[in-house]
Amino acid sequence: MTTLVIAEHDNAELKPATLNTVAAANAIGSDITLLVAGSGCQAVAEQAAQVAGVSKVLVADSASFEHQLAENVSLLVAELGTGYSHILAPATTIGKNLLPRVAALLDVNQISDIISVESADTFTRPIYAGNAIATVQSADAIKVITVRSTGFDPVAATGGSAAIDAISAEHDAGNSSFVANQLAESDRPELTAAGVVISGGRGMGNGDNFKLLDGIADKLGAAVGASRAAVDAGFVPNDMQVGQTGKIVAPQLYIAVGISGAIQHLAGMKDSKVIVAINKDEDAPIFQVADYGLVADLFEVLPELEAAL
């Protein structure tokens, strides 16, 4: 088994989801190559070489890969990919954007968002918003797979000593270009990697009230999430959304505040180790999955909780 893992990075730093993806690659076989495609990404390549269990790092450093546009990077991955039995990427927005395009170029199927490896050709993945788990077997020559990071414990970021090979590759499809990024600034831990997540829903009432969560998040070192209702109402930006169409999290502790617990929200958090629900409606579906439920007005409880921590 030879596995090519697409590293997730921002040209400066290797993203933690890569480590979970390498863990999935480990479960498939041992010969793992990490591909760093970007521009001015030597620092990322050096971090990638440290990752435990990686035997080789390929660096494709070219202006055409700077923003990791799927049109350009897919040509590179499809070209390299023919030499591998498996191609993996994290099921982040970058991975989801890129890998189906790679799979189609290689004329194979893509398997999305796997949560476990049963064997080299058999994987499990959630379907129907996580309400069923499908075990799928692929007969394709190359298995192209995105990996749900919460399904695999990350490998160590250090301790490896892979060789770094620079490959000269230039792929510019010439039909798309990058215009701008509007990235949300936050000094909190990344939502998908945080050990504790506190999320607010429609019950928060407005965006200002999300500040009530900030103090608690600071004390717990938690990331702040939101339900779709809170995002649609404009309380918080969309990149905070937890759920089927937002981010999938599985922290040690998930605190849901003013969230009813729709199927689509549960899809994003029900693998959390401990779930706490604070809601004034005692019939809210969130209480059916919560380990600890508190039926109370969040505006009274949140300041109390912050003081108690």
């Binding site: 395009r101 788990i133 499908a134 075990t135 199927i263 209480f287 600890y292």
Partner: protein, 249 residues
């Protein structure tokens, strides 16, 4: 410009699915079916482009058995001009679906193809990307804003850290995220009119696509059930339990 929109018939998003007792699939008998919510957003966006004078014709296409004509009629009632059903008895794998759509693109030569970012049943999030690859078109996935001007599409995408804006040359493939728009309701007169709009039926053979079957679902299971825990009476009790019982603080 012609806009092609791909739509899918799926279980209604409010329905709680049940896994069949023999673990072969989920049980869809007698469940409420609907237009996939992301596809609805794609149809709405196409209709808005037509209202702005950007699009002149909207063609909707769906792959499935005869039942999916219901979702095509819904799309026609929302404002699409004509519909194509590609008749297959069972759902092909995602690559075959993309190949079928690529053939429709070849025939119809649209200036823009709109799809939902994912279907809420298979949760694959693949078809738009695969279609773009097969037709060598640029792609903008997870779109929350779409502007067509000067022969290009400027698309704002929802990415993990926030938003990203790309410019694509046309023709292009765009997949919709939830925040792109708020779909309208079909009015009764429009539902009546939709019954007279053209709906063509094609087969994979006519399109020259051989359906592959390289992905096999071995079994479908119910995920581990999380049982309800305890209700606490106060914040003090909650913090105490988190510290001593759950040991997560």
């Amino acid at each position: 410009m012609k806009v092609l929109v791909a739509v899918k018939r799926v279980i209604d998003y409010n329905v709680r699915v049940r896994v069949k007792a023999d673990n072969t699939d989920v049980d869809l008998a007698n469940t409420k079916m609907a237009l996939n919510p992301f596809c609805e957003i794609a149809v709405e966006e196409a209709v808005r482009l037509k209202e702005k004078g950007v699009a002149d014709e909207i063609v909707v296409v769906s792959i499935g058995d005869k039942a999916c004509q219901e979702q095509l009629r819904t799309s026609l009632a929302l404002g699409a001009d004509r519909a194509i059903q590609i008749d297959v008895a069972t759902a092909p794998d995602p690559l075959s679906i993309a190949k079928l759509l690529a053939k429709v693109v070849e025939q119809e030569q649209p200036g823009l193809v709109l799809l939902g970012k994912q279907a809420i049943d298979s949760d694959n999030n693949q078809t738009g990307q695969m279609l773009a690859a097969l037709t060598k078109m640029p792609q903008a996935t997870f779109a929350s804003e779409l502007v067509i001007a000067d022969g290009k599409a400027t698309v704002t995408r929802e990415v993990d850290g926030g938003m990203q804006t790309l410019a694509l040359s046309l023709p292009a493939v765009v997949t919709t995220d939830l925040r792109l728009n708020e779909p309208r309701y079909a009015s009764l007169p429009n539902i009546m009119k939709a019954k007279r709009k053209p709906l063509a039926v094609m087969t994979p053979e006519e399109l020259g696509v051989t359906l592959s079957n390289n992905l096999t679902t071995l079994r479908v299971d119910t995920p581990p059930v999380r049982s309800a825990g305890v209700k606490v009476e106060s914040v003090a009790e909650l913090v105490n339990k988190l510290k001593t019982e759950a040991k997560v603080l």
